[in-house]
């Protein structure tokens, strides 16, 4: 990839904001440096594999080689000296053989006689004092199995994990009345989180008969619950301590429970610490990925561009066990229409089981899949109507007072238009599109293009999720006058340990350095819920502000003095106090979980992205040159950290759009190493400009809505729209690899030179384009009952009429 050399202005750019500056936070003027930054920059920060425990053994997992089979026996080579090796099998699990999560369908280890449901499924555990003995022993274990028929295609699967239906108005009638119907089928594949620190857990036996685990993780209390259940431990006997965590992105939401249980089972039997540190190969081949999905749309519009009906079908591949699939599907289904006002909507979502490793949480949680499809659809409709994709979104985007498919009235904090205009203007979208169309026609081998997308992202847990969680966060004034924040919310790069002290210090009127953070250790901190769903700043931040207000009031009432001047004396006189604050439901927010009607989220974040690409017409290679991402996060707590979230999420989405792909054969991931699963390097990465937009949410005292996932929803469809702008073909399946692009180009008529005829070029060609399937990563191409991908009869007529 070539890009013009630009000299970088030394200081980091301040965030641009289109909303008026916020008054609230005292700390706003001076943004604190990342609290644990110095430790990370000097190598002092201790990640799981950096922790040393005397006498620790090394643990390993024996995994299935079949995608679906009955486990007949676990055979040990009689010629090997097993005295130096510890083995644990399913029959030694003291509690229930289940990794506790939603459906309780996933075993900790497959028992003999039990069913292996996917390749790389854990069957037995080994430990040895040194790595070479361990590796030798691993090779001397054979699994005897009987193959069962396997299903790899979610469309062929008969086993449904979850199902949702959302209905508003009458989509069928709306489609019948529409003047143009655009249909489309879009596919996305697996995506690996690829945190740079592999999964890692170390388990230590405790004197009280319990187990302490230290590890790389997002959700201490998920593991705590899983340990109590499978190991038969009390609350106090199961202790989970987060070590510094080298990235999670959802990938350390549920799988760490499995690894912690494995390490704990070994440590319990051995009576010594056991280190369970995955290498990259094991991490990619066994742990969860983003759900592949097939999304079908039928959209009805009028000739003058009114959106009258949406009919959407979402099918996700859950993999072999439910893990978090029902929740991922729920979010994907709710977001499937995109951020657009439509009176008649039907969305059905189902997640099907296949004999592939379970799919799970990954930044965006179902929304990137369905919003990619929604944005593709909007762009193709804009093309069919011959209107600018920007203009069409201006017309359709949600405004305050609009109603979503679940019947939620968007009462406030709707910034779809603001982010759209901010991104489009900063990127010079309209001007560049027009210029490019007027540009010279003669045939080079590279074509450039610009594309746009818009997205929404429900903030926090879906529906009544937060009410069920009932998270608790605490602030303690210790007897020596220190202020401590106690939460189970983990730092994994996003800046939890910086923004919590910021919020609490602002509320108490003290310096940020006077606020300490308690370690994420379940024996010390309350269950403030999982660190997921962009909920930390918004939801846990709000609980902490509530706690800080109570603490302040208690101290000020007693002392008659402002908190900053009185709290130390108060602590000396009265001893320490601790405020445990519980989540309070957002007023006026109700959701019917049975019918999927009501306020699916207390509020939404909004994002728009404009991408510019250059496509090599000979090789099909795409260089993403720049992305402008405008994200409405409610209120910016810390612009540098928030921008960091936008930039990182944007690049993950660019990888999703262009290069990240898992290939499977017989239910096994083929490219399960870092040499074969590629993520963007600094040379692949575009210049990313982040614009932080502030449309605060009144339910958060600090206005924050969360930032982590928004950018992940929006950049991929923008990149694919830019590819279309460059070469005139739509890529319906992510990633838009060179093979898919070349296939689409050869399926279409010979590509016109980009920019030949203003207004008609892309529209005319895409309607003639053959289905752009490209290479399907699965061995058998999934069945495809709907012959979609281009506006059909009605649309064609309309095109001709025009």
């Amino acid at each position: 990839m070539k890009r013009a050399s630009t000299r970088i202005a030394p200081p980091s750019r301040p965030a641009e904001r289109v909303a008026p500056a916020a008054p609230a936070l005292a700390a706003r003027t001076a943004f604190p440096l990342r609290r644990e930054g110095p430790a990370k920059l000097t190598g002092e920060a201790r990640y799981a594999d950096d922790l040393v425990f005397a006498g620790a053994w090394y643990g390993a997992t024996i995994r299935s080689d079949d995608p679906h089979a009955t486990l007949i026996a676990i055979d040990r080579d009689p010629d090997f000296d097993w005295s130096r090796v510890l083995i644990v099998t399913a029959d030694e699990i003291p509690g229930e053989n289940v990794v506790s999560l939603i459906s309780d369908d996933q075993p900790v280890l497959v028992p003999v006689g039990g069913e292996i449901r996917h390749h790389a499924e854990p069957v037995a555990l080994l430990a040895a004092a040194d790595r070479s003995t361990l590796h030798a022993a691993k090779r001397r274990i054979q699994l005897r199995t009987e193959r069962l028929p396997a299903v790899f295609d979610p469309l062929a699967s008969t086993q449904q994990i979850a199902h949702f239906a959302i209905r508003r108005g009458d989509a069928e009638k709306g489609l019948a009345d529409a003047e143009l119907i655009v249909e489309g089928e879009y596919r996305v594949g697996h995506q690996e989180q690829l945190y740079i620190e592999n999964q890692a857990m170390i388990a230590l036996p405790r004197d009280d008969g319990g187990i302490t685990v230290h590890g790389s993780l997002q959700c201490p209390y998920y593991i705590h619950k899983a340990m109590k259940r499978a190991l038969n431990l009390t609350d106090a006997q199961a202790v989970v301590i987060q070590s510094e965590t080298g990235g999670g992105f959802g990938g350390k939401e549920e799988y760490p429970s499995m690894i912690a249980l494995h390490a704990a089972l070994l440590a319990r039997k051995l009576g010594k610490p056991v280190r369970m540190i995955y290498d990259r190969h094991e991490d990619i081949s066994a742990t969860t990925k983003r759900h592949p999905a097939i999304v079908r749309h039928r959209t009805g519009v009028t000739r003058d561009g009114e959106l009258v009906a949406q009919e959407i079908e979402v099918v996700m591949d859950g993999g072999a066990y439910a893990t978090l699939t029902p929740v991922v599907l729920s979010r994907g289904t709710i977001h499937a229409g995109g951020p657009y006002r439509c009176e008649n909507v039907t969305i059905t979502g189902r997640a099907m089981a296949t004999n592939t490793p379970p799919n799970g949480a990954f930044r965006g949680f179902g929304a990137p899949q369905t919003e990619f499809a929604a944005e593709m659809q909007v762009n193709r409709i804009a093309e069919a109507l011959d209107v600018s994709p920007l203009e069409l979104r201006r017309r359709w985007a949600y405004r305050e007072g609009d109603v979503t498919p679940t019947g939620q009235v968007l009462r406030e904090s709707v910034a779809a238009l603001e982010v759209l205009e901010a991104a489009a203007e900063t990127a010079g979208f309209s001007r560049k599109r027009t210029d490019r169309r007027r540009a010279s026609t003669s045939g080079g081998t590279r074509a450039s293009g610009i594309g746009l997308a818009l997205a929404w992202h429900g903030a926090g847990f879906t529906g009544a999720g937060e009410t069920h969680l009932a998270s608790v966060a605490s602030i303690e004034l210790t007897d020596v006058g220190a202020i401590r924040v106690l939460t189970a919310s983990t730092e994994m790069g996003q800046g939890t340990k910086t923004i919590f002290p910021q919020l609490v210090a602002a509320e108490l009127g003290i310096g940020i350095d006077e606020v300490e953070m308690a370690p994420q250790d379940t024996s010390l901190v309350p269950d403030s819920g999982p660190t997921v769903a962009s909920r930390t700043a918004m939801v846990v931040g709000r609980i902490l502000i509530g706690a800080a207000r109570k603490l302040r009031a208690r101290v000020e009432e007693s002392s008659g003095q402002p908190f900053p001047r009185s709290y130390r004396d108060f602590a000396k006189r009265n001893g320490g106090i601790r405020i445990d604050e519980r989540f309070e439901p957002y007023p006026g927010i109700t959701f019917d979980e049975e019918r999927y009607v009501g306020d699916a989220y207390p509020c939404y974040g909004w994002a728009a992205a404009v991408a510019e690409v250059e496509v090599d017409l000979d090789t099909g290679e795409v260089a993403v040159e720049s992305v402008v991402s405008a994200d409405d996060v409610g209120r910016v707590i810390h612009p540098v950290l928030a921008e960091g979230q936008v930039e990182g999420g944007t690049l993950q989405a660019v990888g999703y759009a262009t290069m990240e792909e898992i290939k499977l054969a017989d239910g096994r991931y083929l490219n399960d190493r870092l040499a074969t699963y590629l993520i963007p390097t600094a040379l692949d990465a575009p210049r990313i400009t982040s614009i932080l937009v502030e449309k605060p949410f009144s339910g958060s005292p600090h206005g924050a809505k969360g930032v982590g996932e928004l950018p992940m929803d929006v950049a991929a469809p923008a990149v694919v729209a830019a590819i279309h702008d460059a070469v005139g073909v739509w890529i319906h399946e992510l990633p838009a690899t060179p093979e898919r692009i070349l296939a689409a180009l050869s399926g279409a008529s010979a590509p016109d030179t980009p920019g030949s005829e203003p207004g008609t070029r892309s529209g005319a060609r895409a309607n003639r384009a053959a289905p752009a399937r490209g290479v399907d990563p699965r061995p058998e191409a999934p069945s495809d009952p709907l012959p979609l991908r281009a506006p059909q009869d009605k649309g064609g007529d309309w095109e001709r009429d025009r």
């Binding site: 890009r3 050399s5 630009t6 000299r7 970088i8 030394p10 200081p11 980091s12 440096l33 990342r34 930054g37 110095p38 430790a39 990370k40 920059l41 000097t42 190598g43 002092e44 920060a45 201790r46 990640y47 594999d49 950096d50 040393v52 989180q193 690829l194 945190y195 740079i196 620190e197 592999n198 510094e244 965590t245 080298g246 990235g247 999670g248 290498d279 990259r280 994994m492 790069g493 996003q494 540098v640 950290l641 921008e643 960091g644 930039e647 990182g648 999420g649 944007t650 690049l651 993950q652 190493r673 870092l674 040499a675 993520i679 390097t681 600094a682 040379l683 990465a685 210049r687 990313i688």
Partner: protein, 156 residues
């Protein structure tokens, strides 16, 4: 076998099989766990260290090749608890998020700055192309290296 090398300016002697990876020697024999392992196959750069000033992946270098040479790790950058110019620039710009790629990035950045090359975006991208970061999108890492290089060129 016994090997003598300099690590962060200090002479050390290690007893290890010749094919033991420099990464393991640093992390396990010498307790310098700042250098990370992300892949063990030369793909991620989390294990980057300087060997006689050049960036290498410590997971690919056997200790026998380090005999008599000088290794710099992340632990060798700060002096008496004070961050060096590049570390400080990372802290200011937000170049470290989860921090797992950071030690390796710092090494690649140090080598770039030492080369005296003009801190242009393309050149910096090239210099860190062997170091993967999944958190930052590289933007603020590039900003940090440019800032430190600029300060080096225009002191004060």
């Amino acid at each position: 076998m016994s090997y003598r090398l300099q690590v962060n300016g200090e002479p050390v002697e290690v007893d290890a099989p010749g094919m033991r990876r420099l990464l393991d020697v640093l992390r396990e024999e010498l307790g310098l766990t700042g250098t990370k392992e992300g892949c063990g196959e030369g793909e991620c750069g989390a294990c980057s260290v300087l060997l006689d000033g050049a960036v290498v992946d410590a997971c690919l270098v056997p200790i026998c090749q380090v005999d008599g040479r000088a290794v710099t790790t992340v632990e060798g950058l700060a002096r008496e608890g004070v961050l060096n110019a590049l570390q400080a620039a990372f802290l200011e710009t937000g170049g470290a998020q989860c921090g797992i790629c950071t030690p390796g990035m710092l090494m690649a950045g140090e080598a770039f700055i030492a080369s005296g090359a003009a801190p242009e975006e393309d050149a910096i991208r090239e210099a860190i192309a062997g170091n993967l970061c999944r958190c930052t999108g590289y933007t603020k890492i590039i900003d940090a290296i440019a800032l430190a290089a600029e300060r080096r060129r225009v002191p004060g």
